[in-house]
């Protein structure tokens, strides 16, 4: 409680819990996007694919643009715009997004160490962002664990879906705000 209280007191932007209710200043992307009727749904879709040659996890995170902007803004303590193509090449913004991901999309290898994510890029299509990151993961996906809390600080009905592909297998996971780490594979 104390932490965010200080943030509030500092007069910085904290975005409200529903992406439809936008902060007074600017509408633009914050106003519920696109083809939405009122009951906006809070879902992210991520895909992890293990690259055997590079020994790395290749991750694509697909998010609703307005929710993600809210999340990053909240994370940084100031309003962050991400809806222009120039934003997607902005190094500072990339660093911000990466730090948010490292905090909320935690992939651990079988030794229990967090896989450090590095930036590959991002793009926007319609009302979604596709964010590409990767992390070195020698030894494959065996024994890996994942905790996915993207946008859970914004919505208590957030659902995060993750699809993992490795060794010709596909494992699907679903995360709700109450979930912690989930195992991707059994230890081999």
């Amino acid at each position: 409680m104390l932490r965010w209280f200080l943030l509030c007191a500092g007069g910085l932007f904290i975005f409200p819990g529903h992406s439809l209710a936008t902060p007074a200043p600017t509408g633009n992307l914050q106003s519920a996007i696109c083809d939405l009727k009122f009951h906006k749904f809070h879902v992210t879709n991520s895909q992890i694919e293990y690259n055997q040659t590079e020994q790395s996890a290749e991750i694509i995170v697909r998010v609703f643009a307005d929710d993600f902007q809210s999340a990053i803004s909240r994370h940084s303590g100031r309003e962050v715009k991400l809806d222009r193509s120039a934003d997607w090449k902005d190094k500072a913004k990339a660093a911000l997004i990466l730090s948010y991901l490292n905090e909320n999309f935690v992939l651990k290898n079988k030794a229990g160490r967090q896989v450090k994510l590095s930036w590959v890029g991002m793009e926007g299509v319609a009302d979604m962002f596709w964010i590409y990151v990767e992390g070195k993961m020698t030894g494959g996906m065996a024994g890996a664990q994942l905790k996915n809390r993207l946008h859970c600080e914004l919505f208590d009905d957030q659902v995060n879906v993750v699809n993992t592909k490795f060794e010709g297998k596909q494992v699907g996971l679903m995360f709700e705000p109450k979930d912690g780490f989930k195992s991707i594979t059994e230890k081999s």
């Binding site: 939405l36 809806d83 319609a126």
Partner: protein, 801 residues
């Protein structure tokens, strides 16, 4: 059928007289066999499908009649409304005042309810949606604590701190037609009105309700309606919906649809006629469902003239200009004005009011029906809104009308305010705005156009084709998202649509938890993709790949026209689509709507067979070639130079040492001639046709049976597309072999080359197998290339995008 013979040798078996034989030339697929084969088959025999074992998979082609409700007089087997179809009617005569000083609504309505059902009703139910915002509402009571208390959203804190019982309907009177009080009971977001005399079939009853409530701040509280306060100029925009107690729907399938309104699932309503008198500050512009009846009283002469001009205009005409709106902002009203709106045959009524509104309008004719397309927006909406809103309305009316029915209403509004996207008959609220400096990103631009199309589109589904949003959200959201996608495709080339294309649904289809579309909306976990994207994509696939555009469009239009101004159920849709297209679609509904299977069809193997010509010159030559092309084993190589006994002592050789079984003998030739003599000319042709018989083995891994689309590339460079209906899976839902007969040699085969079936794994769609680059790899490769400007002028840095 002749048994498969084990190969590695190139013998022919002595053929039984009548049958031709197909010799397998070679097998060319991964798995088990890699050697060249000679097989003998009966030409007429069926291909070796895997025999169905006792554990047979569920039949994907089973007829849906077992699950669908039994047709009756109200809903027929063809999917059309039955000959005794009924629905209720609710007419409203409302006086409402907008209290701008206190952000309050005071209203009084007279409702005339007509009971067309076969049942006698002793009470009526009304919805009191504003009660959602009461501190003691179920929504508030059942709210669970956030997982992360440390990071509580500010708005939630505000709500908790400022909780008051200020919000919610304050019902001050419920009276009968004579003015005497009527017994009623308020049950949270519902109210039951007890009728003095039971209402029999065909009878009507009139009663009145008086109420008031405080309007919520739609920026702070998630709401479908409310106000937005602009601190810079001290003004409000009001977007009003769910602002009057409204009749709950009563229908033949579920009786009263009076589930508590918890904010998620929506509502169903009855059609009726509205007469509404809205009293607002005299410097406000009020837009509403319906046609303004008293323009002389509420509009200036200039505004009336401009409206007249707009009726015949070919582009939007400003009724209230940006300069006038700006000048109006600091204004203090002198009094009030009452705007009278009438609307016929609508299921709801919304309105918007503000002194900040800029108002533009353009008349548009849809098949002889004159429609006024109008937009209301504050200066904060420009330059986006003046450019796109009204045009998007007109575009939607054009496209949707073509696919369903001509827009029957006289008016279509798009209003900018606090609500992101919400629709009411003839008026919708849309949120996207540019930056304060007037610039906007591509994403914002498309967000606006898309939301206007979507919300105006809702006039068709569910405002006119009145499906039950609470139970079957997909029937309006899915259908509307689908038509929205078609509209976007006609707005500009390569419009960035996210829903519609099968490839975008692939993620969701393989998600671990996803409910069938045919799940009651209240129970669905991730409602969005379930109700919007998956059905929209399914309809697109039905249109492009299963039925084709012409047949689909005809069937879809039939559905829309049958159920226009009526209340359809899912079965009515499924049945109508089949009824009108003449195609059995039960497998499609079963797969896409009733199951959570996904598409993943794989090419498991390809085998090639040739006809055994029986001509020893040809057959033995081929056999020799195959024998010679066999790799020489390591041992054979090493043994070659070793001295052999028979070389040293040739007397050990005999007939068999020089016998070449593949040498064509006279006896062979004679046998062939005798064989030929038994053939007719036609049969001879067959034998000498030189045709290749390929068998492509497919496996259905994902569960969904789908049409099979091959792109075949031949060795001569030509290409051919082969489209096979899904019925090919009807004998065996899991595995099949499809024969392709051709004189040419096939070089490669690709399955679903145009990504039509939402196939979730493209790596198994190719023969010979070829690596498919993942999206990640493609993106990464692109990132590392210099951008086009840099490529042209390598020494110039910092290109703009």
């Amino acid at each position: 059928m002749r048994l498969l013979r084990d190969f590695r040798t190139c013998y022919h078996l002595l053929p039984p007289p009548e049958n031709a034989f197909i010799t397998e030339r070679f097998v060319s697929m991964p798995c088990r066999k890699s050697a060249l084969l000679c097989l003998l088959f009966c030409l007429a025999a069926a291909l070796p499908a895997l025999a169905q074992s006792k554990v047979s998979p569920a039949d994907k082609f089973r007829q849906l009649e077992e699950i669908l409700p039994t047709p009756n007089d109200y809903r027929s087997a063809s999917g059309a409304p039955g000959h005794r179809y009924w629905q209720q009617k609710a007419d409203y005569d409302i006086d409402v005042e907008l209290d701008d000083a206190n952000q309050r609504i005071i209203g009084s309505e007279k409702i005339t309810y007509t009971n067309n059902s076969p049942d006698t009703l002793t009470y009526l139910w009304l919805q009191l949606d504003q009660n959602l915002f009461r501190a003691d509402s179920d929504t508030q009571l059942t709210q669970t604590a956030p997982e992360d208390m440390e990071k509580m959203p500010l708005a939630m804190l505000e709500r908790l701190v400022n909780q008051s019982n200020r919000y919610g309907f304050n019902i001050t009177a419920v009276k009968d037609a004579k003015g005497a009080p009527l017994a009623h009971a308020i049950v949270k977001t519902m109210m039951r009105v007890d009728l003095k005399t039971p209402l029999a079939t065909g009878q009507g009853v009139t009663f009145s309700v008086d109420w008031n409530f405080y309007i919520v701040d739609a920026k702070k509280t998630p709401a479908r309606s409310g106000y937005e306060f602009f601190p810079k100029d001290g003004n409000y925009i009001y977007e009003m919906a769910q602002w009057f107690p409204r009749l709950v729907a009563y229908n033949d399938v579920s009786g009263w649809q009076h589930k508590q309104f918890l904010g998620q699932g929506e509502f169903t309503l009855e059609f009726g006629d509205y007469k509404v008198r809205i009293t607002a500050p005299d410097d406000h512009v009020v837009g509403a469902t319906g046609v303004l009846q008293n323009p002389e009283q509420v509009l200036t002469k200039a505004q009336r003239d401009r409206l007249e001009q707009a009726r015949a205009a070919s582009k939007p005409v400003l009724i209230v200009t940006p300069e006038e709106a700006r000048a109006n902002e600091p204004n203090k009203p002198k009094g009030k004005k009452t705007w009278v709106y009438h609307a016929a045959n609508v299921r709801d009524f919304g309105f918007a009011s503000s002194r900040k509104f800029i108002w533009d309008a353009q008349g548009h004719t849809v098949a002889g029906n004159k429609v006024m397309a109008m937009s209301l927006y504050p200066k904060e909406g420009n330059p986006l809104w003046e450019k796109y809103s009204t045009q998007a309305i007109i575009h939607t009316l054009n496209v949707y009308s073509r696919y369903s029915f001509d827009y029957p209403y006289p008016v279509a509004y798009s209003v900018n305010g606090p609500v992101g996207g919400m629709e009411y008959p003839m008026i919708c609220f849309n949120g996207p705005r540019p930056e304060p400096d007037g610039t906007y990103s591509a994403m914002t631009k498309y967000a606006l156009i898309s939301v206007v199309i979507h919300e105006v589109g809702h006039n068709y589904f569910p405002m006119i084709v009145n499906s039950d949003e609470r139970q079957w959200t997909w029937m309006d959201e899915g259908l509307n998202s689908f038509l929205q996608y078609l509209s976007e495709a006609e707005w500009e080339p390569n419009y960035p649509s996210r829903r519609g294309e099968p490839k975008y649904i692939v993620d969701y289809m393989t998600a671990p938890v996803h409910d069938p579309i045919m799940t009651n909306s209240e129970s669905v976990v991730a409602l969005g993709p379930n109700a919007y994207a998956k059905p929209a994509t399914a309809l697109n696939i039905l249109r492009e790949t299963v039925l084709g555009r012409e047949l689909f469009d005809f069937a879809f239009k039939t559905y829309a026209q049958r159920w226009k101004f009526k209340r359809p159920m899912p079965a009515d849709f499924f049945r109508t689509m089949e009824d009108a297209s003449g195609v059995d679609l039960d497998w499609f509904w079963r797969g896409w709507f009733y199951s959570t299977d996904h598409t993943d069809i794989a090419i498991e193997g390809v085998r090639l067979y040739n006809i055994d010509t029986r001509n020893p010159e040809i057959e033995k030559t081929v056999a020799r070639k195959e024998k010679e092309s066999q790799p020489e084993t390591l041992s054979a190589q090493r043994n070659k130079p070793l001295p052999k006994l028979t070389e040293q002592n040739p007397s050990l050789n005999d007939f068999y040492n020089s016998y070449d079984p593949l040498k064509v003998t006279d006896s062979d030739r004679e046998q062939y001639q005798r064989f030929l003599a038994t053939l007719t000319d036609k049969e001879k042709e067959l034998y000498n046709s030189g045709l290749n018989f390929y068998v492509v083995e497919l496996k259905n891994i994902g569960g969904l049976v789908m049409p099979v689309i091959f792109e075949i590339e031949y060795a001569d460079g030509t290409k051919e597309e082969l489209r096979i209906p899904a019925e090919i899976w009807r004998k065996n839902n899991i595995r099949l072999g499809r024969m392709i007969v051709t004189p040419k040699e096939i070089k490669s085969i690709a399955l679903d080359p145009h990504l039509e079936t939402a196939d979730t794994d493209l790596t198994n769609n190719f023969w010979p197998p070829k690596p498919v680059k993942s999206r990640f790899q493609i993106f990464k490769d692109q990132q590392q290339r210099p951008n086009p400007m840099q490529e042209v002028r390598p020494h110039t840095g910092g290109g703009q995008n």
